[in-house]
C-alpha cells in the first residue's frame, strides 16, 4: 500500500556499514565515495534522491571495491556538517555534492578539494570557479530556449501567452531570459508573468487570476510540471481547455504519461532530468576505478519530449 522502500534502505545502510568495516583493512584498490544531496522535500529532489539510491545500489554491485556514503541534508548548514564528517570519519576518496546553496558550501568544498580529494559538483555551481574536478549540470538557458522555440514554431503572430515563473532565483532568470530571446521577433504577446514558485497550489491560484483577467490566451508556459498540473486544473475549472495548451518542464512521470498518450492540452514537455545525479556518480566512479579521463564540465542538454520519444523519459517506478 505504501510506496516506500525502507527495507531496501535498511539493507543498503547495512551494506554500507559492512562495506566500511571491510574498507578498514583495505588495500590500495578500494575507494569510498561520499554523496551529499539535499533531502527530498519536493518532487524534483524526490526524483533525484531516488536516482541517487538506485545508482549507488547498482554501482556497488558492479564495482565491489567501491563504498558509498550517502547523506541528505535539509539545509545548507547540515550539508556542510555532512561533508566535514565524511572527510573526517569516513576518509572519502571522492565527493559528489549538489550544493544546497552556492555561497555557504563554497569554502567547505574548497577545503575538501585542497586535501586532494576528487570533487564532483552537480547542478548548482559553487561561487568560486575552478574548485571542482568535474561539473555536471542541466542546461538552464537551454531549458528556456527549447520551450521558447516550441512556442515560436507553433504559434502565429499576435497570439497571446502567459508565463508562470518559479521561485525568484538566478536559475529562474536564466530560463526566462532564454525563453524570451527565443520568442523574440515571432510576434507572440507575453500578456503576463507571475511567480508560481514551482508549487501546484500557487500555480493554480495564479492561473485562476490570469483566466479572470484575460479573455484570450492561446498557450501557457508553466515552466515546471508541478505548476503545469495546477494550471491544468484552473483551466479545466474555467472550461477553457479547448482554448489553450500548456508546456511544463522537468519530466514528471504523470506529465510524461500524458504527453505519451497525446493529450492535446500537453503537447510536449521539456526535460531537466533529476537523473543527472546518476551521471555525476557514474562518472566519478568511472574515474576512480579506471584510467578514463572524466574531469571537466558535463552539461546535460534539455530535450523536447514529444509523444514519439516520451517512452525514453518515462520512469514509472520513480516517485517523480
Amino acid at each position: 500500500m505504501i510506496r516506500r522502500h525502507f527495507l531496501k534502505g535498511a539493507a543498503l545502510a547495512a551494506a554500507m556499514v559492512a562495506g566500511t568495516a571491510g574498507a578498514q583493512a583495505q588495500d590500495a584498490e578500494e575507494y569510498t565515495i561520499g554523496v551529499a544531496i539535499p533531502s527530498a522535500t519536493h518532487g524534483f529532489m524526490g526524483g533525484l534522491n531516488f536516482h541517487a539510491r538506485e545508482t549507488i545500489e547498482r554501482l556497488e554491485q558492479t564495482y565491489p571495491q567501491l563504498t558509498f556514503v550517502l547523506a541528505t541534508a535539509g539545509d545548507a548548514g547540515k550539508m556542510v556538517n555532512d561533508v566535514e564528517d565524511m572527510v573526517a570519519t569516513r576518509n572519502i576518496d571522492a565527493l559528489v555534492v549538489l550544493p544546497f546553496e552556492s555561497e555557504p558550501l563554497t569554502s567547505p568544498v574548497q577545503a575538501v578539494a585542497e586535501q586532494g580529494i576528487w570533487v564532483t559538483v552537480v547542478d548548482r555551481g559553487l561561487s568560486v570557479e575552478g574548485i571542482e574536478d568535474l561539473y555536471v549540470a542541466g542546461d538552464n538557458p537551454g531549458f528556456g530556449r527549447m520551450a521558447g522555440e516550441y512556442f515560436a514554431d507553433n504559434l502565429s503572430e499576435g497570439d497571446n501567452i502567459v508565463v508562470l515563473r518559479g521561485i525568484p532565483t538566478t536559475l529562474d532568470n536564466e530560463r526566462v531570459e532564454a525563453f524570451q530571446k527565443a520568442i523574440e521577433g515571432s510576434g507572440i504577446n507575453v500578456l503576463d508573468m507571475q511567480h508560481g514558485n514551482w508549487n501546484r497550489d500557487d500555480a493554480f491560484n495564479v492561473m485562476q487570476d490570469f483566466l479572470s483577467k484575460y479573455d484570450d490566451i492561446d498557450a501557457v508556459w508553466a515552466a515546471d510540471d508541478d505548476m503545469a498540473i495546477g494550471v491544468m486544473e484552473a483551466i479545466n475549472q474555467a472550461g477553457r481547455d479547448e482554448e489553450m495548451w500548456i508546456v511544463g518542464g522537468a519530466g514528471m512521470k504523470e506529465i510524461i504519461k500524458r504527453v505519451m498518450d497525446g493529450d492535446p492540452m500537453l503537447p510536449v514537455d521539456v526535460s531537466y532530468p533529476p537523473a543527472q545525479i546518476s551521471t555525476a556518480i557514474e562518472l566519478t566512479a568511472l574515474g576512480l576505478v579506471s584510467d578514463t579521463p572524466v574531469s571537466g564540465r558535463f552539461i546535460i542538454g534539455s530535450q523536447l519530449i514529444t509523444p514519439e520519444n516520451a517512452e525514453k523519459f518515462y520512469f514509472p517506478d520513480s516517485p517523480f
Binding site: 516506500r4 518532487g43 524526490g46
Partner: protein
Amino acid sequence: MSDATSATEAPRHRKRLNFQVLGPLLALIVLVILGASLNSNFLSYGNVTNVLARSAFIGIIAVGMTFVITAGGIDLSVGSMAAFVAGVMILAMNSLIPTMGIGVPLIAVGMLVALATGFAAGWLNGFLISKVGIEAFIVTLGSMGIYRSLVTWLADGGTLSLDFDLRGLYRPVYYDGLLGVSWPIIVFAVVAILGELTLRHTAFGRHCAALGANEQVARYSAVKVDRARMATYTLLGALVGVATIMYVPRLGSASGSTGVLWELEAIAAVIIGGTVLKGGYGRVWGTVVGVLILSLIDNILNLASIVSPYLNGAIQGVIVILAVVLQRERKSAD
C-alpha cells in the same frame, strides 16, 4: 496593559470593541474598492467565487486557530498537519479501492479518515501541552517538523496522487456547489458561523477567553483549564481535517510542499481580525475578514500587475502591518 488581561467582561470592553471593529473592515473595504477600480473583472462572479473558494482552507483552519489563540495558545503545526492528513486520506482511499470499489461510500470513508486523523493529531498536541505541560510553541514546532517529514516519507519524496477515477467522482466537492455557491464557500461559512456562536454564546467560548486572560483566575473560578485548553487544540485538529476534505478534491494530490506556511497565514489572519495574540479576547468574524484580506491582496496583485512580482511579498507585509496598526491606534485613542 493590566486591564487588557483582566477586563474580559467589563462594559468598557464593549465600547472599545466598536472602535476596533472598524480596523479590519475598513481595510477590507479599501481593498475591494481598489480591486474594482484596477480591473473590471474583479467583482465578476467567477473571480469572487475563486477568491472565496481558495480562502476556504486557510479560513476553516483560522477559525480553529482563533480558539487556540484566544485561550492563550499557539499552533505552528497546522500547515504540516494538513499535508499529513491529506497524505493519509489519499493513501487510505487508494488502498480501499479494491475492497470497496469506487463510489460515494469510499469518499465518505476517506472524509472520516481525514477527520479522525486531524482530530487525533490535534488531540495529541493538546495532550502534550495541557497534560504533560510543555510549551505550546515547542510542542507544535516539533509536530510541525514531524508531520512535514512524515508526509514526505509517505510520498517517498514525490507526490501522492488520488486514483484518477476516484478523483473524478470526488472533484465536485471542490468545484460544484449549491445554487451557484461552491461547497468550500458553504462549508467555510457554516464553520465560521458556528465558530462565532460557540466563542460568543457558549460556556466553552467564555472559558477559552477566561483561560487566555488569566489562567490562575480561571482555575479558581472552577474552569476546567486543562480540558478547555485540550479542547481548543482538538477542535483545531478536526478543522484541519475539514479543510483537507475540501482541499484534496482540488488537485487530488499531496506532497512535501502542500500547506507550506499555512500556519503563519492562519495566525496572521487571526491577528488581523482583532484577536489578541497573547490571548483573552477573540472574534471569529474578524478572522474571516482577516482571511479575506490576505487572499484579496494576492488576487489584486495578480490581476493588476502594477508592481514587479518580486515585490508582492513586501506589499503583503505592509498591508498586514497597516491593518493591525489601524486597530491599535484606535485602541489607544480610546
